[in-house]
């Protein structure tokens, strides 16, 4: 059975390793407005009459899925078996968050329990929350069944900051991976600490922890590939490739990444709901797996690795430890 067959049958196998709950509960308004600001600049330059409030309203209309029901529907249509929900902790850096990070974890647990077979959750905690944050993260692994750690350096810290080491020790103990944001983000945050090389020290000091560089097919590509090739415990995800589809409908960025001999390190991801104005999950899968898709030149083995086996392998060890 091929991947394409999988997508059309009742037994989808694809794992989307990079998603978020589409709700303002977890993404503050300032973060969204910052992202919209770039759109306003681009559209205004073309002489298009647009205001930020209107664009924000359109974007927010795609952020009304707090229980994950809409995402589950889109996953089924796209042949996605499971998605990883990432909790980016903006609560220390941005002061307009609706929920505390503890409340955000609780909401994710609610979604996980509502759709137990559809999601895994990677909790994220800003290390500046200190011992309380560490305790919350440990609880998430031991009690909630979360399976990873999400790090968001543009909030104001390096991913190799020693304040994160106790978190990585927990990751090593519980055999769970770390997924960290790479590259630009909302302009309200700091781009200067988004380089993949900043993970190198932590990756070297914690060789049993697997680190996933988010957006590695579109941000700092050369550096991400280098780290994946020479650090056994560094991977990348391709989420964000949708941003390139306007000028490159064939997703050459993904085609390029998987042509470099690191298919065993590449994970499929979509960054739902960021590109929801552009299309649905099935459209983003189709670009890769359809006729002339970006993964067409891979053999079945390699395609399986990218679409689900690599993610499965990283998450499975956590499940085995928990069991």
């Amino acid at each position: 059975m091929t991947i394409m067959d999988d997508r059309r049958t009742e037994t989808p196998r694809i794992i989307d390793c990079h998603c978020h709950i589409a709700s303002e509960d977890h993404t503050p308004r300032s973060f969204i407005e910052g992202s919209v600001a770039n759109m306003v600049v681009a559209l205004s330059a073309q002489g298009i009459p647009v205001n930020a409030r209107k664009l924000t309203t359109m974007f927010l209309s795609k952020m009304q899925d707090p229980l994950g029901d809409g995402l589950v529907t889109e996953m089924a249509e796209g042949g996605i078996r499971k998605s990883v929900l990432l909790i980016a902790d903006f609560t220390f850096a941005l002061k307009d968050c609706k929920l505390t990070i503890e409340e955000s974890f609780a909401k994710h647990l609610e979604v996980l329990r509502r759709h137990p077979d559809k999601f895994e959750v990677f909790g994220g905690v800003d290390p500046r929350w200190g011992k309380d944050g560490l305790a919350l993260f440990e609880r998430s692994l031991v009690e909630f069944g979360f399976r990873g750690f999400k790090v968001y350096p543009p909030c104001g810290f390096s991913p190799s900051d020693s304040a994160l080491f106790p978190f990585y020790e927990l990751c090593a103990f519980h055999h769970v991976p770390v997924l960290l944001h790479i590259g630009p983000t909302s302009p309200v945050l700091d781009f200067s600490i988004s380089s993949p090389f900043l993970i190198d020290e932590a990756a070297r000091l914690f060789p049993t922890v697997n680190f996933i560089l988010a957006h590695g097919a579109v941000s700092f590509v050369e550096e991400c590939v280098m780290l994946c090739r020479f650090r056994p415990n560094v991977y990348l995800d391709i989420s964000g490739y949708q941003a390139t589809l306007g000028y490159d409908p064939a997703a050459s960025a993904v085609k390029h990444i998987v042509s470099l001999g690191i298919s065993h390190k590449v994970l499929f991801g979509t960054d739902f709901p960021v590109f929801r104005l552009q299309g649905e999950q099935k459209n983003f899968v189709e670009v890769l797996t359809g006729k002339n898709g970006a993964l067409e030149e891979l053999n079945e083995r390699e395609r399986a690795m990218v679409l689900y086996e690599n993610a499965e392998r990283l998450i499975k060890s956590a499940v085995a430890v928990a069991a």
């Binding site: 073309q46 795609k62 941003a243 306007g246």
Partner: protein, 95 residues
């Protein structure tokens, strides 16, 4: 507003205006894919919506119409939505 051939031409012209230079030579038909063949990403689609509103002097959101941009895949899809919107606005006019 009368939904005649002239209306279709105006919509086709709007679409052509939103297409990035790299895809300008693509022949636009009702079946043409917006993303694959015309390179219209979310920003391109938004520009189309705003130019449409400007052309007909309307505000789609204020009309209470929910246009799901993500579901628009072909030029024909846009034409269908545009016709639907304008048919609900008898006083819409080209400005």
């Amino acid at each position: 507003m009368e939904l005649d051939a002239k209306f279709d031409e105006r919509i086709m012209a709007l679409i052509a205006e939103a297409v990035p230079g790299k895809f300008k030579k693509t022949k636009i038909t009702m079946e043409t894919s917006l993303q694959k063949e015309l390179g219209l990403d979310s920003l391109g689609m938004l520009s189309l919506v705003f130019r449409f509103e400007e052309l007909f002097g309307i505000d789609i959101a204020q009309m209470g119409i929910d246009v799901n941009i993500a579901k628009l895949k072909t030029v024909g899809d846009i034409m269908g939505v545009a016709r639907d919107i304008i048919s609900k606005v008898p006083l819409a006019r080209e400005v």
